[in-house]
Structures are given as C-alpha cells and as structure tokens.
C-alpha cells in the first residue's frame, strides 16, 4: 500500500520558536489515523501545513499517486486536489441556508466563470438532500445556518466535508462539545468514511480515540514521539512522561 500523504522532514519556525521540528508522517489511501499530543505539540500547525495555510521552512509534503508537492500549491488548490479540513470550532457560512452551504461544498467546477453559469440539476438537489439526511439536517435545509445549534453546525460542517468528497480528511477535535449520542454517531461516521478515504483525526479525548480503534500518532514538541496502536503508545514510557508528567 503506497501512501496517500507523505510528510517528511518538515520544520516550521515562528520568530525563533520551532513549532514543527523535523516531522515525518504518512498515511495510506484508506486509513483512519488519530493524532494526539499535549497543547503546543504542533497538531494544528501540522494541519495548517498540509492544507497550505502555513509554509514550512524545510521538508516535503507529497500527495496522491502522482506525487504532487502540496508546498507549491495554495489552500484552494490543495482543497481541490482532495484535502478536506474540518475546524475545531464549526465554521459554516452563517448568513446562508443549510442548502446553500451544502451546494457550495458539492464537488463541482470551482472556477468563477463555471460557477457563474452553474445550474442546479436534479442530481445535485438529490445529493444535497442525501447529505442533509446523512447528517440529520434534512428538515433544516431552508434555514439559515447561523440559527442552528452548535451541534447542528458541527454536523453541517461534516456534511460539507462529505459533499467535497475529499481523498484525505483532516478533522480537528470533532467530538468537542458533543453529547454522548452525537459522539457515537460521529465515531461511526468517521470509521465509515475511512473505508473509502484517508481520515486524520486530531483529538484530546482518549476515550474517543479508543472508540476509533485505529493507529495513533503521538506528537510532542513538533515531532513524532510514538506511533502504533493506542495500547502500544500508552505503554510507551516517553508518552507517559509527556502526558502524565505535565498533567
């Protein structure tokens, strides 16, 4: 199995502070991976690098079968190449309806001219309705998304990610602020998604990670501390020190 995303030797410095230090990471095309690590371990910066928001000082980021380098692309190009990202706090377009949010995310041409002449076909409408149903917002389609509850916004954002049909999904703390039932739903959805694509979940909540039942990468001070099953890494002495030693 060749890797879908191959990050090697990446470093980032902010004003002398090394946020990411010689980090290497890879994930296969249909794999679920959890990234854990204490605050400041570089989890968010890692996602910023993969999605093009932050440029690393050195290292390479290779994506897909054609081994394209993500470092020469901007955020939009990376997203079009098939990398989706879900933020920690739900970010949806609050002045627009759920349907509009989903329609915008639908996989389709993204160039201004094509979008201007884009017409919603029956297939598109159906897809939007399917997605809404999948994330439990079927009866909320004409509502403005700003009026949704926090959990509903989370779901809407997950729905938008599904609509994008990415090949690699980066999910930042998906369970934050969710009820137990919602967490279970989320877990199931992430596992389901990982059947057809690569999913990277950044999470604090060990219980949630355990539920995902996948390979875990532990980040610490900008580089990989340990990698393996959750049981494996929790037995690792360094991991215990980092997590327990600092509380």
């Amino acid at each position: 199995m060749t890797a879908l995303l191959e990050v090697s030797g990446v470093s980032v410095t902010f004003d002398g502070f090394r946020a990411i230090n010689n980090l290497s990471f890879s994930i296969g095309p249909t794999e679920l991976r959890a990234i854990i690590g204490p605050n400041g371990a570089g989890k968010t910066t890692f996602m910023d690098i993969v999605t093009g928001k932050t440029r690393p000082n050195m290292g390479t980021v290779i994506f897909g079968e054609k081994s394209i380098s993500l470092l020469s692309m901007n955020e939009a190009e990376i997203a079009r190449a098939g990398v989706g990202r879900k933020f920690q706090r739900p970010t949806v377009f609050e002045d627009q309806t759920v349907a509009e949010n989903l329609t915008m995310a639908l996989k389709a041409a993204r160039a201004p001219w094509r979008v201007l002449f884009w017409k919603e076909g029956p297939a598109d409408r159906e897809r939007v309705q399917d997605l809404a149903r999948e994330v439990g917002l079927a009866d909320q389609l004409p509502r403005k998304s700003g009026e949704l509850s926090h959990g509903q916004k989370q779901w809407l954002e997950i729905g938008m990610l599904l609509a994008q049909e990415p090949r690699l999904l980066l999910v930042d703390e998906p369970a934050a602020g969710m009820t137990l039932a919602e967490r279970e739903h989320t877990t199931a959805l992430l596992v389901e998604m990982a059947r057809t694509r690569a999913v990277v979940v950044v999470e604090h909540d060990m219980e949630f990670v355990r539920r995902l039942n996948c390979k875990v990468t532990v980040l610490h001070e900008g580089s990989v501390l340990a990698e393996g099953s959750l049981d494996h890494v929790t037995r690792n002495q360094q991991v215990i020190e980092v997590y327990l030693g600092r509380g």
Binding site: T51, K53, N74, E75, A76, E77, A79, R80, G84, R85, F87, T91, F93, E94, D95, Q96, A99, E100, T103, M104, A105, R110, A111, P112, W113, V115, L116, W118, K119, E120, R125, Q129, L141, P142, K144, G146, E147, M160, Q164
Partner: protein, 411 residues
C-alpha cells in the same frame, strides 16, 4: 425543495423593472421634448444622471455589499469611462467644426489639415498642438466605445491582480484603492497627461452628427439609455448574486479563509467581481458625462468614491435595490439642498443656510446610519415584510472585517 424560475426566486426584479418603467414613462410624458413640459430639460438631465449614479451604486453594492471589498476606487473607473466616451465626443464634435471652418477656405481640406485643426482646437488650452498617443483611437466611435470597457477593465484587472494576489484585505485594501484613485487623479491633473490637465474634456453634451436635435430631446434620449442600462444591470446583477456564484462571494465576504478550504480560489473571485464592477462603473460613467457635459480630474478625487460607499450604506448594503435607493435618495437630496432650494432655518442669532450646512447634515446622518441603522433605508422594507434581525448577542456573521453585522442580517 422545488425548482423555481429566476423571476419567482427574485420577485424584487419585477417590482424594480416595473417601477423603473413607470418612472421612465412619467418623466418622458412630463418632459419638454415629448410631453407637457412640466419638467425642465436640466432636471431631466439631473434625473438621467441620477440613474447613472444608481447604476454605479449597483456595482459598488456588488463589490462591497456582496463580496465585502470596500473599494474606494470605483468612481475612478466611472470617470475613466466618462473620459473614454468624452474623447470620442470631443474629437468628433471638433472635427465637425474644423471641417466646416476649413470648407470656407476655397480648397477642400486635407486629412492632415483637419487633424491638425482638431488638435489645435482641443489642446490649445494646454499649450500643445499635437495629438498625444492616447488619442490614437479617438476618431473611431467603435474603438473608443470598446475602450470604455477595456481601459477600466484592464486597469482593474492589473490592480486587482496585484492587490488580491498579495492577500491585501480589509482596510488595507480600501486604503490601497484610495491611493490608486489619488494617483490617477494626480496623473490626470498634469497638462502632459494628454487629457487636457485640469481643464478636462468639455462640450460633451453636443452629440456629433446630431446638431439639429435639441438638448430637450437629447436629454430624454440619454435618460432612456440610462434607464435601460440600469434595468439591464439590475437583472444581470440579480442573476449574478442569486446563484451559487452569489453564495460564494457572500461566503468570501464573511469568511474567506473557509472558502479557500472549500477549494474556491478566493483571489480569482475577487478579481472577477472587481473587474466586472469596474466595467459596470465605467459604463455608468460613459452615460453620465455626456449628460453632465464636462469631465475633469476633480471627478476622480478619492472623496467621490467614498461618497459612493456612503450612498450604498445609506441605502443598505447587500441588497441591490438598497444601493439604487441610496444613490437616488442621497444624490437628489444633495442637489436639492446644495441647489439653494431648501429653505433656510433662522435661529435668531444665526441662520442655517443649507448650501453651507448640507454636508454637515450628510456627514452626521451618515454616522448615525452606521451606528444605529446598519441596514439603511433598505431596513424599512424588512420592517414592512416583518423580517427581523437574528439575536446573536452582537456577534457578526463571520470572522472577517467585511462580514455582515448582526443588525444587517435577516432571520
């Protein structure tokens, strides 16, 4: 969700076109040329110019209200449109006069003599007698009409590409557009800019070849043309903002970083909207200045573009009819006050003469609108329709500077 026709989704378009048509017919019937002469020709011109200002306000609303780019340079594009049409008008009109004058001389005029005569007539005022290179196409109506669109379009494209590429946003972009406008104005103020320095172009109200047609009739023709342009632009822009494209640009206004992660090239969209609105502004200017009769670099002053933003804000940004209402309301009110027709208010110790105090009133009421009624006049329609703003505890609808405010949104 069922599919609706364009008109059914946007009933405001029908209302707008209906009101515009009725207004046009009424003005025509009251005009001196085609009606009962109740409205003077100069007032017909004022109304026609107001329609052009409404048109440029529409463009401003698209770029600011929808895409969230507070451009302080769109009146520059408006003026460039006016300059482009003015060059042809002035050339062709002077040509008529020069040919007529030379025909008195006994010999038929050679093309060189005619050209020299026109150049002397036009540029004598800045002490030159040769055509500057920028006038190369001024003799051709179609070429110059193409330039009305092409020059502002290319300028907007180049400037926008530079600005958006380096991700200049928010107030920085506003200041940069303002600087661009100032640079253009200063350039045109020079005598050797080739556009007659601060004299500008004049006599634009006379249409070449239509010497027999009175200004009474011409003013109504231009009024019609302005009304048609406004109607067409309204339909076009409604179409632009109502589909997925509209969704994307409103999303850019509220949270452009998120739009990038959806795979849309934010810079491309901004550039598209910036250029499109620049072209619309230029067309508005090309219709405006033949009615005004004169254009000079003062029209490009950065302050004009800020006024444009003021109109849109007073009308209510993010709704196309708001921009039209704002521009019409403020500019007509402004000409009423500054025209000395508003009655003075004697206070005993001081008399408030509105010619002097109108700008103070405008400035302060604008502050009041920004503070207390961000929806502007358009908010009245929401009241009428029973639409309320959402209760968001003061939070805006997106993280960006340009995002919709709580009080601007509707539930």
């Amino acid at each position: 969700m069922t599919r609706h026709s364009f008109i059914a989704q946007n009933p405001a378009v029908l209302w707008f076109l209906l009101i515009l048509a009725v207004f046009t017919i009424v003005v025509t019937l009251l005009s001196e040329a085609y009606g009962v002469a109740f409205i003077s020709t100069s007032f017909v011109k004022t109304l026609g110019k107001t329609l052009c200002l409404c048109l440029v306000a529409l463009a401003m609303d698209l770029i600011w209200g929808y895409a969230g780019i507070l451009s302080l340079g769109h009146m520059a594009f408006f003026a460039i449109g006016g300059y482009m049409v003015g060059m042809w008008l002035m050339y062709a009109r002077t040509e008529e006069i020069v040919v007529a004058a030379l025909a008195q001389g006994g010999l038929p005029a050679t093309p060189e003599e005619v050209r020299q005569g026109i150049a002397t007539q036009i540029f004598g005022v800045v002490g030159a007698s040769d055509f500057p290179p920028v006038w190369a196409l001024a003799h051709s109506f179609w070429a110059q009409m193409a330039l009305v669109v092409a020059v502002p379009g290319v300028l907007a494209l180049v400037f926008g590409w530079l600005a958006f590429r380096s991700r200049v946003t928010g107030v920085y972009l506003s200041i940069l557009t303002q600087a661009m406008t100032l640079a253009l104005a200063l350039y045109l103020f020079q005598n050797d800019s080739g556009l007659r320095g601060n004299n500008g172009l004049s006599g634009l109200q006379n249409l070449p070849g239509l010497g027999d047609v009175s200004q009474d009739a011409l003013s109504v023709w231009f009024f019609w043309a302005s009304a048609v342009a406004l109607g067409l632009a309204y339909v076009l822009l409604t179409w632009v903002v109502s589909g997925k494209f509209g969704s994307v640009i409103r999303a850019i206004r509220d949270d452009e970083q998120r739009v990038r992660f959806l795979g849309y090239s934010v810079e491309g969209y901004k550039l598209f909207v910036f250029t499109l609105t620049a072209v619309i502004a230029a067309i508005a200017g090309a219709l405006y200045y033949p009615q005004a009769g004169i254009i000079n670099p003062a029209e490009l002053a950065p302050i004009a573009s800020i006024y444009l933003a003021v109109w849109v804000a007073i009308g209510g940004r993010g709704r196309l009819y708001g921009a039209v209402i704002g521009a019409a309301f403020v500019s007509l009110l402004s000409s009423w006050f500054t025209g000395g027709r508003a009655p003075s208010i004697p206070l005993g110790f001081y008399t408030i003469n509105w010619v002097d105090w109108w700008l103070v009133l405008l400035g302060l009421s604008f502050v009041a609108v920004t503070l207390f009624a961000p929806k502007g006049i358009g908010g009245l329609f929401d009241l009428w329709q029973g639409l309320r703003s959402p209760d968001r505890k003061g939070a805006a609808l997106g993280p960006d500077d340009s995002s919709l405010q709580e009080k601007e949104a509707v539930k």
